[in-house]
Assembly symmetry: C2
Homo-oligomer: 241 residues x 2
Amino acid sequence: MSKPGQQVISRLRQMILSGELESGQRLVEIPTAEQLNVSRTPVRIAFRTLEQEGLLTKLSGRGYIVRQVTQAEISGSIEVRGVLEGLAARQAAENKLSKSQTNELLRLLKQGDELFVKGSINEQDLAIYHDMNQRFHQIIIEASLNPAISEALSRNEHLPFASVSALAFDRNNLAQEYRRFNFAHMQHHAVFDAITHGQGSRAEAIMREHANATLGYAKIFSQMEDNGEKMHILKNIDSII
Amino acid sequence: MSKPGQQVISRLRQMILSGELESGQRLVEIPTAEQLNVSRTPVRIAFRTLEQEGLLTKLSGRGYIVRQVTQAEISGSIEVRGVLEGLAARQAAENKLSKSQTNELLRLLKQGDELFVKGSINEQDLAIYHDMNQRFHQIIIEASLNPAISEALSRNEHLPFASVSALAFDRNNLAQEYRRFNFAHMQHHAVFDAITHGQGSRAEAIMREHANATLGYAKIFSQMEDNGEKMHILKNIDSII
DNA sequence: TTTTTATTCATTGGATCCAATATAAATAAA
DNA sequence: TTTATTTATATTGGATCCAATGAATAAAAA
């Protein structure tokens, strides 16, 4: 069993990421502690940790609120992810992949092929592809052998993925979603090809392009961008890309 | 007066960055609290904060140690900084600089010109240039209007700068140091030029090149690279670039 | 009515005690 | 002698009390 202190942190984190706690909702130590049946101490530490992770915002003297982000912040965060994952792809190409990394990436690509070969996509496929996508990116970051990349990403690890998903995934237009995600999958193929051929610059360019493709989706709800409305960090983490 | 809790954090941070605490030195809550004349509570919070900043490493059950980094980690960190500052330069060019930002950058460049016009450099000049350099980069990051960049950098903000300095600055070869820093200054001019002409890609490329120039310096002490010796995060923050 | 100044109240920050845990040491068994 | 097991010790984690702070409110002055 893991430590209770860590449990408070991950429990609160999950409550934020799942949308159980609304964006902008106020969090105060004592009520939160009572709700979680712990004392203030672990809650205090959790609040500070989550603030550093960028999930909470401190209101001096009046507790914390679940972080609100603007459309501009989401876009900025996506661009940051783009350059960092681009660097990861470059360095993965320079280092060469390990045997097991190559095999797992090949397996993921093949799985994706099978998913897209039918010419349509449903929500269940999407859930599967979501996990595969996460793993694909994770392997490349690991293959960079550069821990500073994941350290830099850790600050707003969830932000780009999830918020985009909440914005961009249109359950009423699965045909269009199919084309989007199929294209993303083709980019995965291209990234893998570049990496295995040791083409660092090409791998970087494709990966960056791939990440930035999300930018367009993030701007779909243009009224949000126009009026600067703030929104939840990331409900419904079912994003792709 | 700022809060005492923050004081403990910044005091410890400064002790680490200044080298007062050796790399690998063990830190335990109670002795540290006694030394700083506070209770364990603020020290506990400070340790966790500094761990997340990447300055301390946790030894489960036996306190913390001042983080040790390898040559490879420093190089990786420099590359991360490179892509992030490159992105900042690109976005600064796309957004255009504010009047005051333009003026301050121009002033910094002119100051630098005066420093380098004499054809030689001493340690005092270097201290001055260090501050100017920090400010130059800071303005460009601000001008990107992308808070995710500084968030991503915050994790290992100090790492590349300082560790490079400890490695690379050769007080016995000031002529060579002059050429290096003069070249870096010329790159500042080029970055500024690209930004003010709205040339985002060019600004990004130069900035990345500029940051990566540090890589070579970081490898000067090649024996460290060979045997993977671990070293202090960053004594003597007097780095340039 | 507006502005300033007290006052109250909500909330966090610090200190200290006790409990839980993990490492190190010592002992016993193989 | 080596390995396993127990014991002791060092160290962190959690709970709770009290102090300090800052925001909201009420009162007083302009």
